[in-house]
Symmetry: C2
């Protein structure tokens, strides 16, 4: 990043940085569409009631009020007050319920939008940032196979980005909750909340929390921590869990679901997935598969892609719309790509050719040359002033434009590659640049990035 | 539009409607980049002080406060309080000043983002909507020729959209202000504000306003209204203004600038431009060229593209960054395209092929078929359940997927076009759909739309 944001937590990119972000966004869009996901956007604004519908959340929400509205104070407690969305899953669930009559289920969508959280900004955590989500939502039921598919699509999408190697760390809420129940800990939400702090505060303090806040015995706390310590790159976690000697129906269901996801991933995305039984996903709305993702060597950046299965987020009376989805933290990834220079554009501007002016009256014929080039997809600008040619070439050079076009009074055309200095005759109706000069290319810089 | 927004003023699109919006956005991006404009985004959030920097504005601004923050009330009067941007020009000016050291001038950028205004929603006026802006900003000076260029780029961009014919109505603030000064009306901002109401309240009431609020004589009011009544499709407006017998240096400068824009437009975008001396652009920051745009036959929709020249919006000490730009109201246009059915997609989903399952164990080989198709850019889904083939075909039909792929136990492949019923042998490594089936096509429906 060239400079700091003028408002902490609200990053902005220079044009050449934006090209890297656009490359990331275009790549994700291409892969999501290749897998049959439709694009939608939801409004950035939800009612407070909608955002807080699932009860307590650990996100800081930005409320809205019109500056000209004298009565805005106190509106926070009003569930109809407006606020900015803090993720794309809650708004998507609302959209599905509202538009159920117009959607074909299972409904597959991707959604790439900004979200806002009023949290303390720090590296990798902004107050305004872009997320790229894919979800599949069913009407009434949603086959478990979509949990597998979503993980594979995301592994393919992340593999196509100019980032270092990554690992999807996958767990299953049924597995955890069944296990806790099996050892006699019934406040499973409380246990999950404590286990979620494992990386931050360590096993010893989590054990203390379990004992002091949830009344766990030493044995129960140890068992919960033993479960959370299991990490395998294949389906061997099943045996390790069984070795802990706990039996519970929900645990069995979670084990077989997680086994199916990990088995498919080992087969189709080898090396990209870990069964990690410490993953909890805080206060969120997940009911089965849960996923977090780390960049290898950049673990302190936090999760770059999270999500899971939610069976009860979208409901309309008795009708349920269970879903599964994952969300890529685009801004977090792009910040890291830029700060570590994993990728950069071959030039800063889309422009391939600057058409020079020989005199002020040539502006009209220069426009004709430009139109002929653009008709073949060649980005072209016309000089605004008939400065000396040297000055016009300098202008192109300063803006990073690789070619300058000259038309002499007798109507002959020449083009100059200002990088090599080479100049040759060219026809505006046929000339084409090399393929790699047609648009700015994203150059991947480190062996570390894929 | 299939249904009403669940929150008035905050429109959302169904997936097939979103395809139309994406077509509009992709078209604009392609044309802006062909003309050498770089993409940037600015944060959605600005300080109140920044938004209100130019004094009085006639936009309703949404302020932000964290729901968890007890002291948020009263923050409105704080210039450091946060608010959502109401356009993309004011944030762009701030961005240019902050990043001047990193930009190559004249800096050409496009910016496609949502903006928010807390106004009373009505047809064509939403509270959250997308704008697509192009601007060129210079360091110290910006040749007038860019005013001409911006108008031509926008005419080309609008011509590429599935909308009816349009007219850019162009005026020049120097012309108006010079004329008012020439007839002795010195509160030019006040006169512009009154003239801006012409279409809403009519000539008679504007004359009353000029007299009662600005102390104009009958003669002055009549002269101002005579100027505003001039509309020509060529440069003949110059004579008509001269015939009013007013002389002023600024008026002359404005006349020659507007003449240059209109002359170039008549030449390069024939029929798309009107010199319309009633265009005022309210309380905005414009100092020269001003533009509004109407859809022919849909004038009551309001301007679909507005903007102009601003010489004093971006300043850093003594350094000035004059600019010129235009802003397309994407949401306003897309709403009209959808409600009038000017265009619709050939299908609702990106998916070309559904790979059917012959039994549950075939999921793995079905994934191989899908991967082979996707590697050639063919959007493909795999069925989630090994239902009877008839049910799997119905599934594809319901989602609008045109082809279903079958693999028999002996490994032979067949593909069925479920629209025609035709079924034939196919090889997953070579089969390609017809070009028009590869991605959803936007079908332009009326002779009225281009």
């Amino acid at each position: 990043m060239a400079r700091n944001a003028s408002l902490s937590g609200f990053p902005e990119w220079l044009p050449e940085e934006r090209l890297v972000e656009l490359h990331v966004l275009d790549t994700l869009r291409r892969i999501f569409e290749l897998h049959g996901f439709s694009s939608i956007e939801t409004r950035a604004v939800e009612t407070v009631g909608q955002l807080l519908r699932k009860g307590e959340i650990d996100k800081e929400v930005y409320g809205l009020s019109r500056l000209q509205d004298e009565e805005a104070a106190g509106a926070k407690s009003d569930p109809n007050a407006l606020a900015l969305h803090f993720d794309l899953t809650v708004p998507f669930a609302r959209y599905v319920v509202e538009n159920a009559g117009y959607l074909a289920f299972p409904f597959r969508r991707y959604q790439i939008q900004k979200v806002w959280r009023g949290e303390r900004p720090q590296e990798g955590r902004a107050r305004e940032f872009t997320q790229a989500d894919i979800d599949v939502v069913g009407d009434g039921e949603l086959p478990f196979r979509y949990d597998v598919e979503i993980a594979l699509v995301i592994a393919e999408a992340l593999s196509a980005l100019p980032i270092p190697d990554f690992r999807l760390r996958i767990n299953n809420r049924k597995l955890s909750e069944g296990f806790y129940r099996g050892i006699g800990l019934t406040d499973t939400a409380g246990v999950l909340r404590s286990i979620d702090k494992l990386e931050k505060i360590g096993a010893e303090k989590v054990a203390e929390l379990l004992k002091s806040e949830l009344g766990a015995t030493d044995e129960q706390a140890n068992a919960a921590l033993s479960l959370a310590s299991i990490q395998t790159t294949d389906t061997s976690f099943v045996e390790k869990v069984r070795a802990l000697g706990v039996t519970d129906d929900l645990l069995e269901e979670g084990l077989s679901e997680l086994e199916a996801v990990v088995a498919a991933a080992v087969d189709r995305a080898p090396g990209k997935v870990i069964a990690d039984l410490s993953i909890a996903r805080g206060l969120d709305y997940y009911t089965g598969t849960v996923v977090e993702t780390v960049l290898v060597g950049h673990e302190q950046l936090g999760s770059i892609c999270s999500g899971g299965r939610y069976d009860a987020l979208a409901t309309k009376g008795n009708r349920k719309f269970p879903g599964v989805g994952l969300s890529i933290g685009v801004t977090r990834l792009v910040s890291r790509i830029l700060s570590q220079e994993f990728a950069s554009p071959s030039r800063a501007v889309p422009t391939v050719v600057l058409v020079a002016l020989s005199d002020e009256d040539s502006w009209r014929s220069a426009q004709d040359v430009a139109a002929a080039l653009r008709s073949r997809g060649i980005s072209t600008e016309v000089a605004a002033k008939a400065d000396k040619f040297g000055k016009q070439i300098k202008f192109a050079d300063r803006r990073g434009i690789p070619f300058v076009w000259f038309t002499s009074e007798d109507g002959t055309h020449q083009i100059k590659d200002i990088r090599s200095g080479e100049q040759y005759d060219a026809d505006p109706t046929t000339w084409m640049p090399a393929a790699e000069d047609l648009t700015p290319q994203i150059v991947v810089k480190t062996a570390d990035a894929s």
